[in-house]
């Protein structure tokens, strides 16, 4: 799996201590990292989904994301970071970190909708396996994943090419106005950031 650093969280110093620089390494424990493995040409999405839902022991703990609504791994990085933040604050909406990541990807507050729109679907052909941890997943877990998903493992660079911009515009209600891809990504990211505090 490919390690992708997560943005560090900022712990403000006391108001009466104006520091020119504030260390971000916090408590000295290793930072959380996102581990991702994209798959294309997935042939057994329906079966994988069934095993996942049943909590089958052959499925490692992870989030399985349908790649079509992910324009950029930045979306995933922020969904993971926000999930860790909610875990820290005891404000998670769902019961597990991995469900929370999926929930954070979705603009609406319905858990079922997040699963339906962002999770692996029976018809998925491109899937992103996402794990979060302070150390890399073991060889055993990586083998489980490779055995589970019948598809072609590809590099992280392929993620943008697996996205369906039209579908993203629809899910995030961005209309169909002419926009660069970067601008679309910005609106997606902003919408994710404001989720739950918008109105």
């Amino acid at each position: 799996m490919h390690p992708i650093p997560l943005p560090p969280l900022f712990a403000p110093p006391p108001a009466d201590v104006p520091l020119a620089t504030v260390p971000l390494a916090g408590d000295g424990s290793p930072p959380y990292v996102m581990y991702i493995q994209p798959f294309t040409d997935v042939q057994n999405a329906a079966e994988v989904k069934k095993l996942l839902m049943a909590g089958d022991p052959r499925v490692p703990e992870m989030t399985l994301v349908d790649a079509s609504n992910i324009l950029d791994i930045f979306q995933l990085q922020l969904a993971c970071t926000k999930a860790l933040l909610s875990q820290r604050d005891n404000t998670m909406t769902t019961r597990t970190l991995y469900a929370e990541i999926l929930f954070n990807l979705c603009p609406t507050n319905k858990i079922s909708e997040a699963f339906r729109k962002f999770g692996i679907a029976d018809t998925s052909t491109a899937v992103l396996a996402v794990m979060v941890g302070q150390q890399p997943p073991s060889a055993e877990i990586q083998n489980m994943l490779a055995t589970l998903i019948k598809g072609t493992p590809v590099g992280v660079d392929s993620v943008p090419g697996l996205a369906d911009v039209k579908a993203v515009n629809k899910i995030f209600k961005l209309g169909s106005g002419q926009r660069t891809r970067n601008e679309t990504l910005s609106l997606v990211i902003g919408t994710m950031a404001l989720k739950g505090i918008m109105s």
Binding site: P5, A15, K82, G190, A193
Partner: protein, 222 residues
């Protein structure tokens, strides 16, 4: 940044209400704006007020961006720490730009005034009042035909009142004349473009006359 260096946030602005730091953010330049607590306020009340301001700032940034006005993209909001992580704008403030290029030539002045007026027009048409319109709170992205970016929505609020929008413009007028002498024609160009480009512009400009009169009285007597 090499992996061996522990990452740090670097303070770039210490204000009365907030501190702004640059921060490495998953390979993207970002800033984190921290609104700090007021020691003299009751802690729980203060926490509520502070987090309401943080939410308001992030909301306004995002709503306006969605409406097509350039603002920094909000990356993450941490209500517990009263922080907003957002895109770092690579560019310069309109303030520094004017100081560096004054006197503005006529054509350039008109272009810049139109950009500012369009942004303010869209914002006011959405019933968002910025609350602190100064040339430091407007930036221009680096590059050709730079986009105008509105920043610092720390004092922003939602209002349908023509008066509030007129005061917004008045604040800008005062800020312009105090930091940049001889900008009367520049401000007038902003008003002309504002009238043309915003739906609710005319009554706001009419109200601005009243606001100015009161403002002059206030300075004359007090």
């Amino acid at each position: 940044m090499p992996d061996t260096q522990p990452p740090v946030a670097t303070l770039i602005k210490q204000g009365a209400e907030a501190r702004v730091y640059t921060i490495p953010f998953a390979g993207r330049p970002a800033i984190v704006k921290e609104r700090f607590r007021k020691a003299y306020r009751h802690p729980t009340l203060d926490e509520k007020l502070t987090s309401r301001r943080v939410v308001q700032e992030a909301r306004c940034l995002h709503r306006i961006r969605r409406a097509g006005v350039d603002t920094p993209t909000v990356y993450l909001v941490d209500l517990k720490a009263s922080t907003i992580y957002m895109e770092f704008i690579d560019g310069i403030s309109v303030r520094d730009h004017i100081l560096a290029t004054s006197p503005l030539n006529h054509q350039h002045e008109r272009e810049l005034a139109t950009k500012i007026a369009k942004s303010l027009g869209v914002m006011h048409d959405m019933d968002i009042v910025h609350g602190d319109l100064t040339t430091s709170n407007m930036m221009m992205r680096a590059g050709d035909n730079p986009s105008l970016v509105l920043i610092d929505f720390g004092l922003s609020f939602v209002s349908t009142l023509v008066e509030d929008k007129a005061v917004d413009l008045y604040v800008l007028e005062r800020a312009l004349s105090s930091t940049h002498p001889d900008t009367d024609s520049f401000f007038q160009a902003i008003l002309n473009a504002y009238a043309k480009n915003s739906k609710g512009g005319k009554p706001v400009l009419k109200k601005l006359e009243d606001v100015r009169r009161r403002g002059r009285k206030r300075t004359a007597f007090g």
